[in-house]
């Protein structure tokens, strides 16, 4: 740097030392950050190394398919995309119902690479998007924590976030899901909010709205931001921390952010219409009132002010009542009281299981168990309380935000296991703060205890204390005008220069000595600090080992291809892709495939066939129709499927090899969801003494329903006993024939079985003509009688 170099000649050696240390520290933290990025990226590559570079699970396949469409057809086609391959015959407006952030990000990366003539495939870009964004997320964590507690805590939390198992589970290579980029957007938005709050710069406020816009594009979880930030603002106001910086941090975000959010088609007018956003508007009004009050207070004498307050309060109450009445009327007029089902289940954890079985049926919407906390955030769970305490010493605007963030996210993660993902960054930030503070204290006391390094330690202590005092100035605001220029490194150095010019070096050393005295009183005994330092290192090592294990073993399986290790080597079960490849090459391009909704995204993406329902689950009735068909006897199921123009039915069956998440295990949900819409499907019919079973004790309804028959058709011929390895029992009904369906494909390990609907029988058959006529007339009368049996007739 030129400016410091020029000044070295003039200032004493202490200053030279300091700049050198600063420069060295800057370069060191840059390299540490670089390494953290590399770590965050590479720890997520286990799935590529152990398996292959492939898209994982269910939702990522949909995102992948959308990205393919985007790169092939362009952005305008993408916005107007009406997908007729899903939800047959309804279709789905993809452009208007999808969060486009992830897709646009990957599409842009792909486009950029291809315009540089780097011919990576769309798939490769999609696979590696998540690891790249986890590196970004850890850098964003560094920035955020740096705003709260300085660079040391920032680096610690960045390294913790780089390998927090909870985040790894959603961002391994191939896990191409919204959360992968959304967590980065979330942290970055929070960082910019705190940055604005600390500096009061309108520039950062604008950036903050843009980051919020990116978050809205990426994930439905943006409502967390738009509720948490108002909460924090409210907290600041209530605790008397209102400042113009708070106003700058909040007001532009609400105005610009809401306008930008309304640009995203999937949000649209929801940004001003639904209750999730009302908190922000309410706080927006409050902050204006408060700002106004502060302004009036500034220009009026205390006496006049009192009069004004009484006047305003009486008028204001009346206006408020009117506004609130209008709002309540508006909210009450909307059917779900302005809240979406998922948000409602967040506020009332029992809501989903009571009213929406389709939300309850998804495993990631279940509340987590205690072990899953240990699995997902590991030792951070113990460090978080310490971090919260550290946040209170001293409490600043930024650290109060962190406390609020961790408190709310702990609640939300307790409701839904998926939101553990929101907790993870908060846990990393607080644990990072805790670890860094602990290291600070312990190393500090060791330095004071060791006689040999005292002279060094004095300088060091002086520096650290000045650092912390600098951090404290943020809330003390003694030098408010200087605060805004803190962000520029050049200015910062200039400011230091000025400070040094003010305090001659001799005075500075004296001050440092006084501080050192004070510090020495706080120091811990040497042995205790060394031992606790070691223990902390062991704790960190334990975390690293656990994270690597989680990344390598627990979260890397793509779930589309399964492997088991046995004595004679590795077995690969690639049945899903076998079935999808078969469908894509050997059926007509316009054939419709019915399956339970879990496999909808994969079927459209990998087999390119039209499906009836998929993982989007926006139409409960449609899913209930498929559920009803699966839980009906063959003939009725055939009629439902035939009326939906279905040609193939796909079932997943794990009984031969012991794959537990198959359709038989999911079957009760089909019954429940089907029964929720079509009352003739009753759950008790499928349970024997309250228990769901498929062995000889099973109810006849189960043994005759389509799902049972399609899963176990000719299963007995494999081993002669029909022993189901998942349910660990012999099945109830072993020998039966299918009359309306025929097996057209079964994969190598029987995991996927595909059946074709047989065409209508030729009805003219002499003798049977009369009886046939009779049955057909009765069935038609029955149809007219029970209207709700099949909506597609």
């Amino acid at each position: 740097m030129a400016a410091p170099e020029a000044s070295t000649a003039a200032v004493p050696t202490l200053y030279t030392n300091n700049t050198l240390r600063n420069a060295f520290g800057g370069v060191l933290s840059f390299f540490i950050l670089l390494l953290i990025g590399v770590l965050a990226f590479s720890i997520r590559l286990f799935s590529v190394i152990k398996y292959e570079s492939v898209i994982h699970e269910f939702d990522p396949y949909f995102n992948y398919r959308v990205t393919q469409f985007l790169t092939k057809k362009g952005i305008y086609e993408f916005w107007n995309w009406f997908d007729d391959r899903t939800w047959y015959p309804l279709g789905r407006v993809i452009g208007g119902t999808v969060y486009p952030g992830l897709t646009l990000t990957a599409g842009t990366i792909w486009w950029l690479l291809n315009s540089l003539n780097i011919p990576l495939s769309v798939e490769t870009v999609c696979v590696f998007t998540a690891p790249i964004f986890s590196a970004f997320a850890s850098w964003a964590t560094y920035l955020l924590t740096k705003e709260v507690k300085g660079a040391g805590a920032g680096l610690t939390s960045a390294v913790l976030l780089a390998m927090v198992p909870s985040y790894i589970s959603r961002s391994v290579a191939g896990s191409y899901d919204n959360e992968a980029v959304a967590i980065f957007a979330l942290i970055f938005t929070f960082y910019l909010y705190l940055k604005t709050l600390n500096t009061g710069s309108l520039f950062y406020a604008t950036l903050n709205s843009l980051a919020y816009f990116y978050m809205v594009c990426s994930w439905g979880g943006y409502t967390f931001i738009i509720n948490l930030i108002p909460m924090h603002v409210l907290l600041c106001i209530v605790t008397g921390r209102y400042s113009s910086r708070l106003y700058i941090a909040y007001a532009p975000l609400v105005v610009l952010g809401t306008l930008l959010a309304a640009l995203v088609p999937v949000v649209g007018f929801n940004a001003v219409m639904t209750s999730e956003h009302f908190a922000s508007f309410l706080v927006f009004i409050i902050i204006h009132v408060v700002a106004f009050v502060y302004y009036i207070k500034g220009i009026l004498s205390p006496k006049m002010f009192k009069v004004a307050v009484t006047l305003v309060v009486t008028v204001g109450l009346a206006v408020c009542c009117a506004v609130i009445a209008v709002l309540i009327a508006l909210v009450a007029s909307s059917p779900t009281k302005g809240w979406s089902g998922r948000s409602l289940s967040l506020l009332d954890p029992t809501y989903a299981s009571k009213y929406i079985p389709i939300i309850a049926s998804v495993s990631e919407h279940q509340p987590p168990t205690w072990p899953s906390y240990f699995m997902d955030i590991n030792v951070l769970a113990f460090l978080v309380p310490a971090g919260i305490i550290a946040c209170f010493l001293p409490l600043s605007d930024a650290s109060s935000f962190v406390v609020l963030y961790i408190a709310t996210s702990v609640y939300f993660s307790g409701v839904m296991v998926r939101l553990m993902l929101v907790l993870a960054p908060a846990a990393c930030i607080t644990s990072g703060i805790a670890l860094s503070e602990a290291f600070d204290v312990l190393t500090g006391s060791i330095k004071f205890q060791l006689p040999g390094v005292t002279s060094n330690a004095e300088v060091d202590a002086g520096e650290t204390s000045s650092d912390t005092s600098e951090a404290q100035t943020d809330e003390v605001k003694a030098e408010k005008p200087d605060d805004t220029s803190k962000n520029r490194p050049l200015k910062k150095s200039k400011k230091k220069e000025r400070e040094l010019a003010e305090n001659p070096p001799a005075k500075a050393t004296a001050k440092a000595k006084a501080k050192a005295e004070k510090k020495r009183l706080l120091a811990l005994p040497l042995e205790a600090s060394v031992i606790s330092l070691l223990l902390l290192v062991v704790l960190g090592a334990f975390y690293v080992v656990h994270s690597v294990w989680a990344a390598a073993e627990a979260y890397s399986a793509p779930s589309i291809v399964l492997t088991t290790r046995s004595r004679d080597g590795l077995h690969v079960f690639d049945d899903f892709r076998e079935a999808y490849a078969w469908l894509s090459h050997n059926t007509d391009v316009n054939d419709k495939v019915a399956s339970w909704w879990d496999y909808g995204y994969q079927t459209t993406a990998m087999a390119n066939r039209t499906v009836i329902v998929d993982n989007n689950t926006w139409n409960n009735t449609h899913i209930a129709t498929v559920g009803t068909a699966m839980s009906s006897p063959e003939r009725a199921a055939w009629e439902i499927f035939h009326s939906l123009d279905v040609k193939y039915v796909l079932v997943v069956f794990g009984g031969l090899i012991g794959y537990p998440s198959d359709d038989i295990n999911k079957f009760l949900w089909m019954v429940r969801i089907g029964g929720g819409v079509f009352p003739h499907i009753k759950e008790p019919d499928y349970l024997r003494d309250g228990q769901y079973r498929i062995d000889s004790q099973a109810t006849p309804t189960v043994l005759n329903c389509l799902m049972y028959k399609l899963s176990y058709y000719r299963f007995v011929e494999t081993d002669g006993k029909a022993y189901d390895r998942v349910r660990r029992t012999e099945i109830g009904k072993k020998y039966f024939k299918l009359t309306h369906f025929e097996e057209v494909f079964t994969t190598h390990h029987w995991m996927v079985r595909i059946y074709k609907l047989k065409p209508l029988k030729n009805r003219i058959r002499g003798k049977a003509k009369k009886s046939k006529l009779k049955t057909s007339s009765t069935s038609s009368s029955k149809r007219s009688g029970t209207k709700k049996k099949n909506p597609w007739q």
Binding site: V54, N117, P119, D574, M606, E742, E743
Partner: protein, 467 residues
Amino acid sequence: MEAPIRAREALGFILFSLLFSICRSSSLNHLLISNAERRIDLSSHIVKVYLTLKVENAGSTPTSEVFLSFPPTQVDHLATVEALVTKGKRKKTTLVRLDVKPTELPDAPNDAKYFAIYLENPLKSGESTTLEVLYLLTHSQEPFPAEIAQSESQLVYYRDSALILSPYHIKQQTTFIKTPSTKVESFTRVEPSNRAGTEIKYGPYEDHPPYSFSPILIHFENNSPFAVVEELVREVEISHWGNLQVTEQYTLVHAGARHKGVFSRVDFQSRPTLNGASSLRYLLARLPPRVHSVYYRDEIGNISSSHLRTDSRKSELEIEPRYPLFGGWKATFVIGYGLPLQDFLFETSDDRRYLNFTFGCPLLETVVDKLTIKVVLPEGSKDPSAVVPFPVEQHLETKYSYLDVVGRTVVVMEKKNLVPTHNSHFQVYYTFKPIFMLAEPLMLASAFFLFFVACVAYLHIDLSIRK
């Protein structure tokens, strides 16, 4: 192998010979075939016909062309025609390959098509010579019944003539037809004809005038899988850093009797010989030796069922499609591998480089309906020219790969209807200056250098208004 002739020259040659043959069509009458023996091998789905002709010049003028004629239905399926002549005395005979070119003759009856065999030395009056002809027919066995269930075996029709179609008088001829098994449902009898084991014999027939034809139909069992690659795109990318990257995209179809109705995995697994006898379970690809980084995948990811065996002379890749292919079922996949460059790239004396690589499809016993070979030359190479031993369609393309600026020249060769005998070598000649190899590293280095310079510049410039 003969000196290869370029396609354009070949075309010119055909035109020339066409003109020439019109002038000399009378020479047809001078020749006669004193003895002909034909062996038709039907054991796989590629029909191999070995023809031994003893040609005699009964006219007064010497002639150097012998014409073979084919019915128009066969010409469409004709993949290759090769002719050899036996040379030398008894016991010391050597076989010499002769040029064979498609040609046309005036007044051809019923649109018969011709191939001309060019003898090395003109056949003088009264002399005779023995020609060995091999031709391969694809798509010539028609499944009947056209649709079969899983447990049925595949029956096919083969249509031909009991008499060899020839523009010459044939004094004596015999035809042997070899079927894959003893199970022959029926065959047309043209006396004298009889069947013994897997062989059906037609003839000997004496003294048949030119263009004699006697249609026969053989209905027999052929359970060999009809592996047909509908389209194969092979991309050979040359990198002068020492690697030759080959990527092959297959669209494979089982062209036998279509599968009908149920596919039952339990039957297929428990009784593999009775069930799906004609299904295509695995394929064998013969790759060059020292192959490395082999992959086998399709558009939805890696296919885990493959085995690679390598030794010093060849590499064999055994691949299973994701699912067994029954009649009419399709599968697509990609095979890719790298090869050491020094095995395939050579330098000529005049400082040109040439790639010497095999044409055709590495899969054994498969027919390729359409093959496209793309040879991607390194960026900066000039004057490409390809030398292929048989006529192909050629054109040039440009491809942009990693950090290319001007693009790489791609020599594209297309050919239809290929059989394994087309796996001969072709050459692509080009000139290349080694300095171009450094273009991309230098570009990257300078880009990074500029980036750092920009960073340094940014740090030294103070753009703030306030001091």
